[in-house]
């Protein structure tokens, strides 16, 4: 059995772990387009800011692959797929046969059409190569324009700012972090940026990168006609599933590769996971690409298990974000951008305390929590995610959701909802650990459990049902 994994990031790593948990003998080949082991892409901004040394960048070291008997082909990417022959085409035309194939090539940064975008000084910011290129130019850059105020854009802006570069952010939409923040919270973010001394332009876009005769960047021109002088441009307007190499293979592709709940594609023995795929969105109830690290891991794990003959199912995911810049912290999940009072099908609960710097917003639809947004005080954000995962009826404690009171009711609901004996709403309970003590214990003692061991023996019986 030969497992071929195209791509070498988190989905691939999770898949390797899942395969090896079931199949010790099969051959695993990883096609790694970059000449390095798996590393954490979000960390490159931390590295640029000097917070993470380069030796911490790798997510897995060489030893991880060696211990799992994985062959890694560095520096080559998947260029084509020949499903009828059961083989893939690598860079340079080399063919590689597979019994099972996992497509985990991730996503490519999207570069919008701009004049003069080709050439030095304009970089996306998703890989170590990009980061190194920026790093190399940094001594010459005094001003940089960051195109896009998304996660990557904001983190890149923060990193560059911390390196003493004047940063201007240009965003097409009229909000900072437009996929996460709503209008009100975006104002908070703008305030933070102003305090930090970072320029931003909202509702405008770059139409041209102006270059001097030597080819170096000298500024950008916006749609509104404004010219912003700069020596470098970071393009961070998002990523697109890297489906290019799959053209002509007959695989079903929409925006991303379409997979079923086992992460299997339309082709036999070909699975896909990570930023490449269009998988089920738990909140929207439809398939769409969600490019997020935790979901990629989950999908990789499930795809890997199924590659090796398992029967794992992906129940779906939803966007979860945590981002902090200039001391401003945002935690969100699901439909966090819904504006209060705009859509009737959603009830939006907001708690705002400017003095303490607290902003909490919960979006409730159909008595289920659909999304939340927390600013600054994010320490218990996970409970909200739990409520979304569990798809629990939150109406009994809806009012308490965003107020300053304890989350006991909600938290208890989460824990209760995930107990094995009432888990209709939480099919995913088993990975959680069993929450509270078994109810059977509470049915009063006819034989008094005087020793903890007795209780525990009982507990483990319950566990294995």
């Amino acid at each position: 059995m030969r497992y071929v994994i195209a791509g070498n990031s988190v989905a691939a790593v999770a898949a390797i772990e899942a395969i090896r948990r079931r199949d010790d003998g099969g051959e695993i080949v990883v096609i790694s387009p970059e000449p390095r082991t798996a590393y954490c892409r979000p960390l490159i901004t931390y590295h640029l800011a000097g917070q993470v040394p380069s030796e911490r960048l790798p997510y897995k070291q060489e030893g991880f692959y060696r211990a799992r008997d994985v062959r890694v082909i560095y520096g080559k990417a998947l260029e084509g797929l020949e499903p009828e022959k059961g083989r893939v085409v690598l860079t340079g035309g080399e063919r590689l046969e597979y019994d099972r194939l996992l497509l985990a090539m991730g996503a490519r940064p999207f570069i919008p059409p701009m004049d003069g975008v080709e050439g030095p000084g304009v970089y996306p910011f998703t890989s170590i190569d990009h980061m190194e290129a920026v790093e190399a130019h940094l001594k010459d850059w005094r001003e940089v324009v960051v195109v896009g105020a998304g996660m990557i854009g904001m983190k890149a802006a923060e990193a560059l700012h911390s390196r003493g570069v004047r940063v201007t952010i240009v965003e097409l939409l009229d909000k900072i972090l437009p996929v996460v923040l709503d209008n009100a919270s975006s104002l908070w973010a703008q305030e933070t940026l102003e305090k930090a001394g970072v320029e931003y332009v909202l509702g405008d876009s770059v139409v041209a990168v102006e270059r001097d005769p030597q080819g170096g960047v000298r500024g950008v021109t916006l749609k509104s006609g404004t010219f912003i002088p700069c020596q470098g441009v970071i393009v961070a307007v998002g990523v697109r599933p890297n489906v290019g190499p799959l053209e002509g293979s007959g695989i079903e592709v929409n925006k991303g590769v379409i997979v079923d709940d086992r992460m299997e594609t339309s082709l036999e023995n070909v699975f896909a996971a990570g930023d490449l795929v269009e998988a089920y969105d738990l909140i929207l109830g439809a398939k769409r690409p969600i490019q997020l690290w935790p979901l990629a891991y989950r999908q990789g794990l499930i795809a890997g298990a199924n590659l090796a003959g398992g029967r794992k199912r992906y129940v779906g995911g939803f966007p979860i974000n945590s981002v902090g810049f200039f001391g401003f912290k945002v935690a969100s999940a699901g439909l966090s951008t819904v504006e209060p009072g705009v859509e009737e099908s959603f009830e939006v609960l907001v708690y705002e305390d400017r003095e303490k710097g607290i902003f909490r917003k919960a979006v409730v639809g159909n008595n289920r929590l659909m999304g939340f947004l927390l600013l600054n005080d994010t320490s218990r954000a996970g409970i909200y995610s739990g409520l979304i995962w569990s798809r629990m009826d939150v109406s009994p404690f809806k009012d308490a959701l965003v107020e300053e009171v304890s989350l006991a009711e909600a938290c208890r609901a989460v824990t209760r909802g995930m107990e094995p004996w009432s888990f209709d709403s939480m099919r995913d309970f088993r990975r959680m650990g069993w929450a509270l003590f078994p109810r059977s214990y509470r049915k009063h003692f006819t034989a008094m459990p005087s020793r903890i061991e007795e209780v525990c023996a009982f507990e483990s019986e319950v566990c294995t049902i």
Binding site: H444, F445, T446, M448, P449, S450
Partner: protein
């Protein structure tokens, strides 16, 4: 203090060592009497002494030992006649114009006869027994015993008991948990009592508030009470029990009824007591169908009839002046067990004036009743249970020697699970979670821990009792019953010794 009446003087003061206080606010959370507060603007936990009842819950829970509860140091002018307590009670009544309520048992300095009685021991001429080497019997049968035993021989010539012996309770330890109702106590305490009684092979008593259905499996170890309010009394209640008890009186408040405030009657209590949620549970002072021994006999036999004559019936009375004559009547009315409740017995709520001034000591009542029944030749008709202020196993042994078959422990059982005798049972805010039905506070009493503690207490007492029996050269507690020769009095008058039926020390 500000906003308090000027006539309020604190009983206790909370001394907080701010060098040790880590502001974890556990004391604030645990204080149910609003005596402790957190002041955010001072960043400190502070106390209001006038609210402190001296239950010491905060002291017990404080993780750094920063709290000490002390008697309030401010003092009235010294007066041998008017005590500070008299003054404070009087001020309170002048302020509010009502009866002063209290809980627990009589705490006034009346004589404690237990402490004037000493036990005998074997020396040289009669050997003592080592309970670790030789069997020692604490098993006690409670109920009517026949006047004589007749034996017949079967076809094979072997002897068989011809006399039919009525129903008896078998207690492996002659210590039974006293009647304390569900309502006065919470269900957690009842659970603990039931589990401990079962574990130790003894009994517990429901009190007058009925038996929660959850505890029916413990019926074999449960004495169910039928009191003047008849709360929770129905056929199943009687049938599930080990014995039934008619409550005539209570040592802490002889001659008056009970009152469970409507606020304490929640869903579960309402179901168990069979009264509407939120309605006051009033126990009349007398049973309105019992005005004579003959009426009592009717109720006793009604209960026996209802349970097919399979369970003993007990009658509980407060120890009052003519207790011996009443006990004789009860024995003749058909009771199998008589419970005598002395004036030190506790209560969930009683007017303080009644608790502190009514009744007689259990030692006297017990001796008088035992003697009277012996004199009349009917002592074997009934078993006697002594109740009201049994503090330790020494009291148990002395009670048995004075004529008791077994004892009830109420206050001692509550102490075992944390009670500190602050006597605020009637408020329903017991900080130790015992006499409260507030679900928030009642959680503090973990039935599992409480049951273990009660079991431990009975185990310890049983061990001590065996030691004391051994040193008297007795190997069964039955042999000690009414054996007043093994008791001697110190510091008692001739009359007191006559009533107790014991000789002075040295005689």
């Amino acid at each position: 203090m500000l906003y308090d009446s000027v006539f309020v003087f604190p009983n206790f003061e909370v001394e907080r060592n701010y060098e040790r206080c880590i502001v974890c606010k556990a004391c604030v959370q645990q204080c149910t009497f609003d005596a402790t507060f957190y002041l955010p603007y001072r960043g400190r936990v502070v106390s209001k002494d006038t609210n402190c009842v001296g239950c010491r819950r905060c002291e017990a829970i404080c993780p750094t030992g920063a709290i000490k509860i002390r008697r309030y140091q401010g003092e009235f002018k010294e007066n041998a006649y008017w005590t500070p307590r008299d003054l404070k009670d009087l001020y309170k009544q002048a302020e509010q114009g009502g009866v002063i309520l209290t809980g627990g048992g009589n705490d006034r300095p009346y004589p404690i006869y237990w402490d004037h009685i000493l036990l005998d021991a074997c020396q040289v001429t009669n050997p003592s027994i080592d309970p670790l080497r030789e069997p020692m019997e604490l098993r006690t049968y409670l109920g009517r015993k026949p006047d004589r035993v007749e034996i017949e021989y079967n076809d094979e010539g072997e002897p068989e008991l011809k006399t039919r012996i009525g129903p008896n309770l078998v207690a492996e330890v002659p210590v039974i948990f006293a009647p304390m109702s569900y309502g006065a106590l919470n269900l957690n305490m009842h659970r603990a009592e039931a589990a401990a009684a079962k574990a130790m092979g003894t009994y517990w008593n429901t009190g007058e508030g009925g038996l929660h259905r959850e505890l029916y499996p413990y019926g074999d170890h449960t004495i169910v009470q039928v009191a003047s309010g008849r709360f929770g009394v129905h056929a199943e209640y009687l049938q599930v029990s080990a014995a039934m008890e008619i409550k005539i009186g209570q040592g802490a408040k002889p001659g008056i009824g009970g009152h469970l405030p409507g606020g304490k009657v929640d869903e579960e209590i309402s179901k168990t007591r069979m009264i509407p949620v939120g309605s006051d549970a009033l126990s009349p002072a007398p049973h309105h169908d019992i005005y004579s021994i003959e009426d009592l006999r009717q109720l006793i036999y009604a209960l026996k009839e209802a349970t097919n004559y399979e369970k003993p019936v007990s009658v509980k009375i407060a120890a009052v002046h003519n207790v011996a004559a009443i006990a004789s009547g009860i024995a003749r009315a058909g009771a199998d067990i008589i419970v005598l409740d002395g004036f030190r017995g506790g209560t969930g709520a009683s007017p303080a004036i009644v608790r502190d001034n009514v009744g007689i000591p259990i030692e006297m009542a017990l001796a008088a009743v035992d003697q009277r029944l012996r004199d009349e030749g009917i002592r074997n008709w009934v078993s006697i249970i002594a109740a009201g202020g049994i503090r330790n196993s020494g009291d148990v042994i002395k009670a048995v020697a004075l004529g008791a078959d077994a004892v009830y422990i109420g206050t001692a059982a509550l102490l075992a699970v944390g009670c500190t005798l602050c006597h605020k049972c009637y408020t329903g805010k017991c900080a130790w979670g015992i006499t409260t039905n507030d679900p928030y506070i009642a959680k503090r009493l973990n039935p599992e821990i409480a049951a273990e503690r009660l079991t431990n207490l009975l185990k310890a007492w049983a061990h001590e009792m065996k030691e004391m029996l051994g040193l008297m050269g007795i190997n069964a507690i039955e042999s000690l019953r009414g054996n007043r020769l093994r008791l001697r009095a110190v510091g008692l008058t001739r009359e007191e010794m006559d009533i107790l039926g014991i000789l002075p020390a040295g005689a």
